[in-house]
Structure formats: C-alpha cells, structure tokens
Amino acid sequence: FIFFVFSIVAVLTTFGIILSLIFETIRFFSQVSFIEFLFGTHWSPQTAIREDQVGSSGSFGAIPIFTGTLLITSISMLIAVPLGLYSAIYLSQYARPKVRNYFKPILEILAGIPTVVYGFFAALSVGPFIRSLGESFGLTVSTESALAAGLVMGIMIIPYVSSLSDDVMSAVPESLRDGSLALGATKSETIRKVVFPAALPGIVGAILLAISRAIGETMIVVMAAGLAANLTANPLSAVTTVTVQIVTLLVGDQEFDSPKTLAAFALGLVLFFITLALNILAMMTVRKYRERYE
C-alpha cells in the first residue's frame, strides 16, 4: 500500500502543476482578458509601483512572446537537426565501434553542461561575436540577438537529436542493411533509402522532444536573449521568450495578486500544454517505431 501512495506522488505532482497553474491563471484572466492575452501584440507587463497610478495594468498581449519563442526555437533546430542527424548517421553507420564508443559520450557532454553555462557563454562570447561580425557586414545586430541565443541553444540540443537518432538508427536491424548492400546499393544509398526511412518515426520523436526542450529552455534565453517583446522575424534583433518572461516577472519580490505576477502563471500554463502535446506526440511516434521492431 505504501508503494501505491508513493507512486501516486507523480500523479499528484502533475495535478499540482496543473492546478496551481490553472488556479493562478484563472485569477489572471479575471484581471486581463483572455483574448488580449492570446492575440494581443503588445507586451509590457510593467505595472505601476503604486496601486493607484494611472495605467496601472500593463498590456499583456503575448503574441510577441510566442513568436520570439518560435524564432529562437527555429534557429536552434536549424542548427541542431542537421548537425545532430548527420553526426548520428556518421556515428551509427560509418564510425567504427571504437570511435563510436568514444565520441558518443563526448557528444553527450554537450547535454550535460548546465544550461546556465551556455547562457553565460552566449551572453559573454557569442552575442558580442555575432554583433561584431554583423557590424563588419554593416548590419545592426543587437547584443542580445535571437541568433546568439538560438545558436547556443542549438548546440546544446545537438545531443538530444543525435543520441536518440543514433539509437534508433543503430536499432534498425543489421539484416536490413545487409539486404540492401547485397543488392548492390552503396552505403549512402542504403542509409538514405533503407535505414533512414525505417528509423524515421524514432527520429521524428527525437526531434519533437528536442523542440519541446528548446521551448522550455530557460537559462540560455534569460541570459542571452532580450527582455524586449519585439514582434519580429529578424534573427538579428532582440526578442523575448515565454520562459524569459516568466523568470523576469517572478524574480524578486512578488505580490500574488498583481496581474504581472499572475501573467507568469498564464505563460507557464501555455508552456506546459505545448510541451505536453509535443511530448505525447513524440512518445506516440517512438512507440510506433518500437512496435515495428520488437
């Protein structure tokens, strides 16, 4: 019985998350309109210091935040997917087992480095580097550009893509590869036409998980992306993300009834549901893949 109670803890946690988020979110929407939040294009949650000040309720249009998140996530995936996939292909299909045994853990160190380190790296080195690079081309680049954050996040995500892809591609039975080679296919043809399609669901699952990681990633963006909620698709400008806003809204002393604080919970709920959806989707695709080969 004790066992059962313990196993319930996990469920309770989930419920705790949902309930606390929903509870605060409802309070938030009692102060700010739902429509404005989802479709408003202006975000400036800075409420007045004093309650009675005019315009005390900032504006809570979350679209710029969402697009910012999307922008940074896209950039990171643009880095991580090709690099991760090709690394996985090389490691699982070309590299000798010894090489693979060496390089796979090394690659996984990338995922083990705390995100705060990446954030620091992005803010300290990559941001300025990109800016100076951009300036040498005559572009105006913000130090806290989406590109810098996305780039670094992409690097961090590489092992999330490569590790799982590597696993699923290695799990494609040797016999399929032999079958194709014996028909006179070259190695790359075998990989492209047989191994890759066979592993596709697993790879898609890996990418979905990586996306969910990227969306929920906090420290890199907090440190390297800006606070300004710009509605832009320009990777060289500063954008902000859901996680950044949550952190900035909640760090420091909070009053638990100001819309500013509560907005963070609303954003958290959105974040939770998006990642939840992505995770479930990823789990389903991976499971489908497992069924095929077990």
Partner: protein, 271 residues
C-alpha cells in the same frame, strides 16, 4: 526403370568431381578477422545451375565463405581475404572490379527474412531502381510481377502489392526477399540458412522454390541441417574449423562420406 542407387555410385566419378568449368572457382581462399583466421585455404568449385550446400558445425566458417562470394565481407573492417575467387573466370577481388556491379550479379538471401519497411512493390523494385536498369513504369510493373511469380508469391499477394513487406508472414517475407534478389537478374543466389527462422510449412515452400530456381540460377545455400542439405542440394561441402573437409555428391555425403570428420559430423558424433 533403372536402379537409381547403383546409378549414383556409377556416375560418382563424373558428378562429384568439380566440373571442368565451374561457375565459381575458389582457390586457396584464406579469410582473417583481424588476427583470427576464419578460413584456411579453401579450394572449391561450384557448378552452374546446381544447388550446392555448405554444412558444418557452428562457427566453422560457412557464412564467412558465403559472404566472400559477393564480397559482403568488405563491410567488416577487420576482415581480410587472400586467395583467388573467380566467377565466370573473372577474379572478383581484382581491384578493378566494381563491388556494386558484382553484387548486382549475385543475389543474397539471409537467415532472418529482411524485407525493407516499404511496400511489397517497392521491395522488389528496389534493386532495378537502384541500378537504373529499369526506368519505365510499365517495365517495372512487369519486372516486379515476373520476379514475384518466379518466387511463387504472386498468387498469394498480387492484391497486396502496396502493403508493407513487413506485414507478410515469415515465409512470405523470405520469398519476398528471394523475389527481391531475383529482380536484378542475378546469375548466382547465395542463401545463408534461409529457413532457420521459419516454421516447417514455410520451410517446405522455400525448399520447393529452391528446387525450381535451380533451373535458372546457381544456388549456394548454407544450412545447419544435414536433412535439408539432403533434400535440396546436388552437391554438399563440409566445413570444419575453417577448412573445407570434403565436397561431393550430396547423396554420397549422407550415404557414405569419405572423410572421417564428415562422417562424425553427419552422424552426430561431432563433440
């Protein structure tokens, strides 16, 4: 009616010796995996349009030898091979030989059925497409049908060409793999224990298929079952510890092999 028992003994002299012009001619083939020698100067001729079976205890090098014939051992980094293997008089380990082209002349069927996770049609069409042999759509359909017919599978699955190959039963999958191999018009088909993952019924079907195929293809089959060798093959080669111990008429091998070791293996005396 003629006395078949006597006939075989009388004709031994002719059939059991390698024919003057074997299709595959191996001379002093040594194979190493790293430092470990897996085959010791194997000399073996394989006649055209006959089924030759390779038997021997586990790990004796049957598969290794088979994989030498279409250079599938190239895939293994540590594997090196010396000696000379000629097919149609052409040394297949010559540096000028294009491995891809060689393999398109030699079909291979594996122990576990391994259809690609594509449709039945695409499975069969894979080879011809790969080699750019057939481009026209209608030609391809014909080729696929022809191959499936020849593999005895057409009637069973002609309505299921678009289903994935993996959805077929084990025996059908194996025949699909044979169809896939046939589709590139190989001269030789290598089979590595093609029935060991199949139930008796599927095994029987494959055995019957092999019997039909030998009219058109030269077949080399690895099997761990002496009985299967007896059923499907005309000639049998016995390997032991990496050496070719005896090769001869299948009937002779199981009636009265010449070599003591062969007899020991065949009768279950091998320790």
């Amino acid at each position: 009616m003629v006395d078949s028992m006597n006939k075989n003994i009388e004709t031994n002299g002719v059939r059991s010796s390698i024919s003057d012009n074997p299709l595959i001619d191996c001379q002093d083939v040594d194979v190493y995996y790293g430092d470990k020698q897996a085959l010791y100067s194997v000399c073996l001729g394989i006649n055209e349009k006959e089924v030759t079976s390779l038997i021997g205890p586990s790990g004796c090098g049957k598969s290794t030898f088979l994989r030498c014939l279409n250079r599938m051992n190239d895939v293994i980094d540590t594997c090196s091979i010396t000696g000379c293997i000629k097919i149609n008089g052409e040394d297949i380990y010559d540096p000028n030989i294009d491995v891809v082209e060689l393999r398109s002349r030699i079909g291979m069927v594996f122990q576990k059925p391994n259809p690609f996770p594509k449709s039945v049609f695409d499975n069969v069409a894979y080879g011809p497409r790969l080699h750019g042999r057939i481009i026209e759509k209608a030609d391809m359909s014909n080729k696929v049908e022809e191959s499936l017919v020849r593999a005895g599978l057409w009637d069973e699955i002609k309505d299921r060409l678009n289903e994935p190959g993996t959805s077929l039963s084990g025996g059908q999958q194996q025949r699909l793999c044979i169809a896939r191999a046939i589709a590139v018009d190989p001269q030789i088909i290598l089979m590595d224990e093609p029935c060991s993952a199949l139930d008796p019924i599927a095994t029987a079907k494959i055995e019957e298929l092999i019997d039909e195929l030998k009219a058109k293809y030269t077949i080399v089959i690895v099997t761990h079952s002496m009985q299967q060798a007896a059923r499907v093959s005309q000639r049998t080669a016995f390997f032991h510890l990496g050496s070719l111990i005896e090769v001869g008429d299948t009937e002779n091998i199981f009636r009265s092999p010449e070599n003591e070791q062969t007899e020991a293996y065949v009768t279950g005396r091998y320790g």
